[in-house]
Amino acid sequence: MATLQDFKTAEKSWWCPGCGDFGVLAALQKALVKVGAEPATTAIVAGIGCSGKIGNYINSYNIHVTHGRTLPAALGVKLANRSLRVLAVGGDGDAYAIGMGHFMHSLRRNVDITYIVMDNHVYGLTKGQTSPTSETGFHTKTSPQGSIEQPVHPLMLAVAGGATFVAQGFSSWQPQLADLIVQGMNHPGFSLINVISPCVTYNRVNSYDWYKKTLVNLDDDPGYDRSSRSRALTRLEESDELVTGLIYEEPSIPYEAKIPGFSDIPLAHQDGRLSPEVWNQILGQFE
């Protein structure tokens, strides 16, 4: 059994002191231990931005791709070796701006990957610009008089877009966040865990204190029904998505289990040889 130490690297973290991303990293490492993951069979795909640095700090097979493309890369990894535990990790810009197309299609495709979005409502690594989740009126270097756009509502989009697992965590609420990541990894299909991960440098509005005052923990509400798409949407709209916990889950068969004839044995373990019978049968169509 791997320990927390096994998932750590010797790299010094490059995040600002106090960054929410430390909490996401810690919760992810705890969750990996809790589900019994091994570094060698864990693959993490990271995007571009502060969040994308996470691959430097976790001992596993990591690929750090182009901006917005974590989900297609994670799909490729999973199909190449379905015995791997595959996670994609990125920020709100990666997920909901440049990668929005992949996000929506990953929801309906439902490959068995866990997607952790580190959402701080601001572009940090480029030093403070408006993000797709920035609130209307939010002042940044690219919206000096306040953002004039509506923010994206990723959780409602996910529920409406056909997601089979939608959750939101808060980087400061470690036990719940780690637990949500565990649940997401155990969910057989695409799981979205949007994590509120405050930026202490460029977002003074959506601060730790602000979130602690406004976030409502759905786990404290015994009457909440996680199996209803319409009730999830209502709850998210009423709360302006300021909730944590498991928001929606439905029984799911992952994409790779539905691909006609798809091999149970990981493709990466096969030699790629064809039987002469199959080859001749295929050539027959060109006679």
Binding site: N62, I63, A73, G76, A80, G101, F262, A268
Partner: protein, 582 residues
């Protein structure tokens, strides 16, 4: 050699008629070559399908048409200049007329009426196929057999009514054969075991044979067939085709799969290739194998989606930001498309870098006879330097040195699942252990490693091939489908008393400068024949400092493939002595 052509509106069964003629002629032991002209729409608009039939291998289009099957007047008007004494077989329903000055015999046949008698006007093309069989001097039986195979899944009634239409068309022409002024007796063929394949078919077959099991793509003309073939075949071998939301996702998914140890590819054309450029850089930087097929078409932007061009070459070699290692290979025939279809995966894994198979619309879509023996397996599969396990000593070290500096620049890699082999593959500049590094000395060494490692490719595969004398009056240099056109121009030049040879690139990046320079060293003239406006292959030769007074360029960028006759005519003019007035 006979050239048969059918023309009409899109959606009238032109393709299926051409398919019948080409497959039957191939089954009879003839070499065939078939090509289509079509537009970016589903119904309406002129389309035609031409089939060359002969007793020697045929690799390119030709100008002349011997038998023209016309389903409308437009077809006759457009094709009249090609006829040179041939025969037009037209549906009398549209009251066909011969344009002024046309050198052809017009045979009228009530195709629509016969089709209706057989059950439906839709079978007009079957009547045309039967009539063509009679004109070509073939027996009806192989046509009936092929129709039974092709329509078998639609039920016996469909097969029977199509066969009836075929038979009536055949009969109608057989009865008037004595009135046909030209006969088209082909030399008799020898029985042979050949298949009819397009370049796209061959690339897909090569990929399948080479162990590719993941294909992520986005439909685009003229590349889509590759995806459509693999999605049919992969269930037999456990693979997966994913129709992605765009080309950005397509290539990135293939890269993810390559990182995780499967052979993966994508296939696209110009617009998709432009979208993939950033990810090609990612694969180069992370040293991840991936195979990309670019079936070039008219560009830029949407350009001419259904027309021939070879204008992506420089983008394939240099496209994207930064200086990214990659290999570009260029098949010029259906056979080479098969070879490159599997070899691309060996190269991608050996060199741990993106490999692009550059084809073009003519090569990817047009059909050709291929000896089955050329597709006999098993093909070589070389997975490159993959460590099955990581020695304990390395495991105890801090991190696996994924990007270790080696003599040839290729570092052993591990696949996810291998204990102790964990590493970070990042598009950010990194140290041998994969960690982010901005150290200037490391940066230079890493750039040199990635850009230098592919140079060995010229010891592994041909860079440039030539057919013909090395001291020729002129060497015709081609790439992709223009190589085949050049080869077919050689007999015309020989007849004109010109000693010509034809050469073609098999590897375009890294550029095989030495092989190319040697191959053309003794030639008097060198003509670079390519289908783009700026002479991209010529530019590559210039960049190597090889382009001198012996060179010339023949360019075409109107969307229409070069014909061997065009090239031969140009060369004859080029080499004719200029009369200088006294």
């Amino acid at each position: 050699m006979i050239a048969w052509k059918i023309g009409g509106d899109q959606g009238e069964g032109i393709d299926s008629t051409g398919d019948i003629v080409i497959h039957v002629a191939n089954r009879l032991g003839y070499y065939v070559y078939g090509y289509k002209s079509f537009s970016s729409r589903i119904k309406g608009g002129h389309t035609n399908y031409k089939v060359r039939i002969g007793v020697r291998p045929i690799r390119a289009a030709t100008k002349r048409t011997d038998i023209l099957v016309a389903l409308n007047q437009e077809t006759i008007n457009l094709a009249a200049p090609e006829l040179e004494g041939g025969v037009i077989l037209a549906d009398s329903a549209f009251q066909p007329t011969l344009p002024q000055g046309a050198n052809a015999q017009l045979l009228m046949l009530p195709m629509t009426q016969i089709a209706k008698e057989s059950g439906s006007a839709l079978m007009r093309n079957m009547v045309a196929a039967g009539a063509s069989a009679a004109l070509l001097g073939f027996s009806l039986e192989p046509f009936s057999d092929y129709v039974a195979k092709r329509f078998g899944s639609k039920g016996a009634a469909v097969v029977q009514s199509n066969q009836e239409a075929l038979q009536k068309g055949y009969q109608a022409i057989a009865e008037q054969l004595s009135q046909v002024t030209r006969t088209f007796a082909l030399e008799s063929s020898r029985p042979a075991d050949r298949l009819v394949l397009t370049g796209n078919d061959a690339v897909a077959l090569g990929a399948l044979a080479g162990g590719c099991r993941i294909m992520c793509g986005y439909p685009i003309t003229p590349a889509t067939d590759i995806m459509e073939s693999l999605v049919k075949w992969f269930p037999k071998v456990g693979g997966a085709v994913v129709q992605m939301e765009d080309e950005l996702g397509s290539i990135t998914a293939a890269i993810g799969a390559g990182f995780a140890g499967a052979r993966a590819m994508t296939a696209t054309s110009g617009p998709g290739l432009s979208l993939m450029q950033e990810a090609i850089g990612l694969a180069a930087m992370t040293e991840t194998p991936v195979v990309i097929v670019d079936t070039q078409r008219g560009g830029p932007s949407t350009g001419m989606p259904t027309k021939q061009e070879q204008s992506d070459l420089l983008a394939l070699i240099h496209g994207g930001h930064g200086e990214a290692s990659r290999i570009v290979i260029t098949p010029s025939s259906v056979e080479e498309s098969f070879e490159d279809g599997y070899e691309a995966f060996n190269l991608a894994e050996y060199f741990q870098t993106p490999v692009i198979i550059a084809t073009d619309l003519s090569l990817s879509l047009w059909q050709q006879s291929v000896d089955r023996s050329r597709l006999a397996g098993p093909v070589p599969i070389d997975r490159g330097r993959v460590l099955p396990s990581v020695p304990a000593s390395a495991e105890s070290a801090a991190t696996f040195q994924r990007y270790a500096f080696t003599a040839d620049g290729i570092s052993p890699r591990t696949l996810p699942g291998t204990p102790g082999g964990q590493y970070l593959a990042t598009g950010v500049e990194h140290s041998p252990s994969g960690k982010v590094s901005e150290d200037p000395a490391n940066r230079e060494r890493m750039m040199d490693k990635r850009l230098g490692k592919t140079a060995q490719i010229h010891r592994m595969r041909p860079g440039f091939l030539v057919q013909g004398p090395s001291d020729a009056d002129i060497v015709l240099v081609g790439v992709g489908s223009t190589a085949a056109v050049n080869l077919e121009a050689l007999p015309f030049l020989e007849a004109a008393g010109i000693r010509a040879s034809a050469g073609w690139f098999r590897t375009l990046a890294p550029f095989p400068a030495e092989q190319f320079a040697q191959a053309v060293a003794r030639a008097q003239h060198i003509l670079v024949v390519e289908q783009n406006a700026t002479g991209q292959v010529a530019q590559l030769i210039k960049a190597e400092g090889l382009y001198d007074w012996r060179y010339g360029s023949l360019l075409k960028y109107d969307g229409v493939p070069f014909l061997p006759e065009d090239v031969a005519e140009y060369v004859q003019k080029l080499l004719s002595k200029v009369e200088v007035a006294p």
